[in-house]
């Protein structure tokens, strides 16, 4: 018997442009039918499809890895319609596929390493496959472990620490100055793209948005998007007095907010804390504003150096995370190999035991004067013989299964003793380790 393998085949932000990823992406409503369609090809036993804006991947478990991968390729090609996938697809099998799944779930393969959304997306993909009935022992175990590995990576490393985009740095800064942002007033001066991204973050955190812009029309459009209010630049001074956070991004060639104006503002707002973020180039806010008491000024260079620092720190943390993934993959592979070994051990023990029981049944009636105690002693002796005979072969089988490459002894044992082990896919993931443990005493007892 040869063991089943896990294969992953797909494309991601590393190998394919956005346009191609968009074409291959599977809408959530169609995912169930597509998963069942893949299984219906008969080339694979289990499948999970992860489809996000950054990746489309088919994970599968199949007895014949090549046939399974072929079916997945054909399905992906059918989604790409006339576009060739040549050079965009990657394929990994066995331990490499498991490692890929663990890395994806742990956000080590993400565009922004450490971003938290991917784990939820992988969980959703697995949930959809479970609902469609296309998961089994191998992929269930693989994904459950992937979730556990992601959790471990998150708790044992600082991979998710620090904000890595200018807009998230601005949002994080506001949170470090004001704590909870619910009800805080955020003033957008100008309506550039970066300011919009920061506004999205801050609005998401519960802040109230006010947009002040030269063109009231544009200000109103942006304010509507974030449930805020619109003002013209004439009302800037009055709004500065009320605002907690100011994000400025106009195209003005000179300062829009001067030190003199801010001195009056600080007094009028009775020295309440204020965070000013200047993401305009050239700058909108006089840098000397940052010297005022209770006013904190950050420009785009400051924000970028903070986000670069966080990205560097994440890369350093990723090295520790890779070590965790490596450990977990090794453990998973041991389990996967034991999955193939266990039914053979069980069948081998059953075969030996069957012979001994049959011989005892034939011999015992011919022996005169045997009491119950004697029969029990004979039973025990028979068990001990089975265990001792099996000790060496089972130890060798286990060693063979744990070694790299194909388990040749396993096939040999099955042929030598004409074994027909039960199909591991029929069992639940939880049963398999229990059987390994049940088989273990046979190995231990054999030593006696």
């Amino acid at each position: 018997m040869s063991s089943r393998d896990i294969v992953v085949i797909g494309l991601s932000h590393r190998t394919a442009p956005l346009a191609l990823r968009e074409r291959l992406a599977v809408p959530a409503a169609e995912l169930g039918a597509d998963l069942r369609g893949l299984l219906a090809t008969g080339a694979l036993d289990e499948t999970v499809v992860i489809s996000t804006c950054n990746r489309v991947e088919v994970y599968l478990a199949a007895r014949d890895a090549r046939a399974g991968a072929g079916a997945a390729r054909a399905w992906l090609a059918s989604r790409a319609v006339a576009t060739s996938l040549e050079g965009h697809l990657y394929e990994r099998a066995g331990g490499d596929a498991v490692q890929h799944a663990f890395r994806v779930a742990s956000s080590l393969d993400s565009m922004v390493v450490g971003e938290p959304q991917i784990l939820g997306q992988v969980k959703e993909a697995f949930g959809a496959a479970e609902a469609a009935g296309t998961t089994g022992t191998l992929l269930s175990r693989c994904f459950q472990r992937a979730f556990a590995v992601a959790k471990r990576v998150r708790s044992e490393t600082a991979i998710a620490a620090g904000a890595v985009s200018v807009s998230s740095v601005a949002c994080e800064l506001a949170a470090k100055v004001f704590g909870r942002l619910e009800g805080r007033r955020v003033l957008l001066v100008g309506a550039g793209e970066m300011a919009e991204a920061a506004a999205r973050h801050l609005h998401g955190a519960g802040a109230r948005i006010v947009v002040a812009n030269r063109s009231l029309e544009r200000a109103e459009a942006l304010a509507r998007e974030h449930g805020g209010e619109a003002r013209t630049l004439d009302q800037l001074q009055a709004e500065l007095i009320l605002a907690d956070v100011v994000i400025s991004s106009t195209a003005s060639p000179g300062f829009v907010i001067t030190r003199e104006a801010m001195q009056a503002v600080v007094k009028a707002r009775r020295h309440r804390l204020m965070l000013l973020v200047d993401i305009a180039v050239p700058r909108d806010i006089d840098p000397r504003v940052g010297d005022l008491e209770n006013v904190f000024l950050y420009d785009v260079d400051h924000l970028e150096s903070v986000s670069r620092g966080a990205a560097d720190a994440r890369r350093r943390e990723a090295e520790s995370a890779e070590r965790i993934v490596h450990e977990e993959v090794a453990e998973f592979e041991l389990w996967r190999k034991s999955l193939a070994l266990t039914p053979t051990i069980v069948a081998l023990r059953a075969r030996f035991r069957e012979i001994v029981v049959a011989e005892l049944a034939r011999t015992v009636p011919r022996l005169q004067g045997l009491g119950d105690e004697d029969r029990k002693t004979l039973d025990r002796m028979a068990d001990a013989i089975v265990n001792k005979l099996l000790h060496q072969p089972l130890t060798a089988l286990k060693k063979d299964a744990e070694s790299e490459g194909s388990a040749q002894l396993l096939d040999a044992a099955q042929q030598l003793f004409a074994l027909q082990p039960a199909e591991p896919a029929d069992r639940s993931a939880a049963d398999a380790p229990a059987e390994v443990e049940a088989a273990a005493p046979a190995i231990a007892e054999g030593k006696r």
């Binding site: 620490a161 620090g162 704590g179 009775r270």
Partner: protein
């Protein structure tokens, strides 16, 4: 013997908790902060045992002698901090508060055979005077730690050093309002403490007459905290200046305490 054992255990545990909080402030491992708080909890239990046993054996309560007063003040600072920890993310403050607690407790330890307050000085007002001063010092000690955290956090934010310590300290606004609340609690207590002290001294005609160094520092502490609250109400002053005012006020309050300790020593 048992009294000494509880005293030493509490002191050692405070030292360990303080060291763990320092490690947390420097490294940021949440696990260390949790252990520090557990350690502080056990230290407080040992401290309670020390105060109770000391009272049982010596019969002195906090308004009776300087030793019990310092021990009780330090105990209340630790309890106040543990209570604040339940509502705010203030684990880093443990690095500032635990040493203050330990120093106050050690101060109590060095006054083993202190004399009780002399009979002529005792009056119905004396327990009120000492009681409100203890509570005031507790509020100011906590306000001091919060103010110190504010000053550090503000400096990091201004210098754009947004690394580990910055991430572990609470938001500036939260520190500012917590500091204000603590000073608002402490200030009336200090006022009552000063007034009752003056009344007791005047009624009994004890102690020196005029502006002694101890009275001067007490007035300075009062002026600092009064300025923090007054300028806030009048001109909205807050932030770093308020934090520095709070720290100065607490420094004066500590000087008053040191004055008491030295006088008790001399007597």
């Amino acid at each position: 013997m048992l009294v000494s054992a509880t005293f030493l255990s509490a002191s050692a545990l405070y030292a360990v908790a303080g060291a763990l909080y320092l490690v947390f402030a420097a490294r940021g491992a949440e696990r260390v902060a949790r252990w520090a708080t557990r350690c502080l909890g056990v230290a407080v239990a040992a401290h309670v045992a020390f105060v109770a046993l000391d009272y049982a054996t010596g019969g002195h309560h906090p308004t009776d002698d300087i030793r019990q007063m310092l021990a009780t003040t330090s105990l209340l600072v630790a309890i106040g901090y543990l209570a604040a920890l339940r509502r705010h993310r203030l684990a880093v403050l443990g690095a500032f508060i635990t040493p203050v607690t330990l120093l106050l407790l050690l101060g109590a330890g060095f006054h083993r055979d202190v004399a009780r307050v002399p009979e002529p000085v005792r009056s119905a007002l004396l327990p009120v005077h000492i009681g409100v001063n203890i509570l005031g010092v507790v509020a100011f000690a906590l306000a001091f730690a919060v103010a110190l955290a504010y000053v550090i956090q503000e400096r990091l934010l201004r210098r754009k050093q947004l690394g580990g310590l910055f991430q572990r300290l609470p938001p500036l606004d939260e520190l500012d309002s917590l500091g204000l609340r603590l000073v608002t609690i402490g200030f009336p207590l200090l006022t009552v403490g000063i007034v009752t002290g003056a009344v007791v001294a005047a009624r009994l005609g004890v102690g020196e007459v005029g502006l002694t160094p101890s009275r001067l520092t007490a007035m300075l502490a009062w002026a600092c905290f009064g300025a923090v609250l007054g300028l806030r109400a009048l001109a909205g002053f807050r932030g770093r200046r308020a934090a520095i005012g709070t720290m100065l006020g607490f420094a004066c309050a500590v000087l008053v305490l040191v004055g008491y300790v030295l006088r008790a020593e001399a007597s």
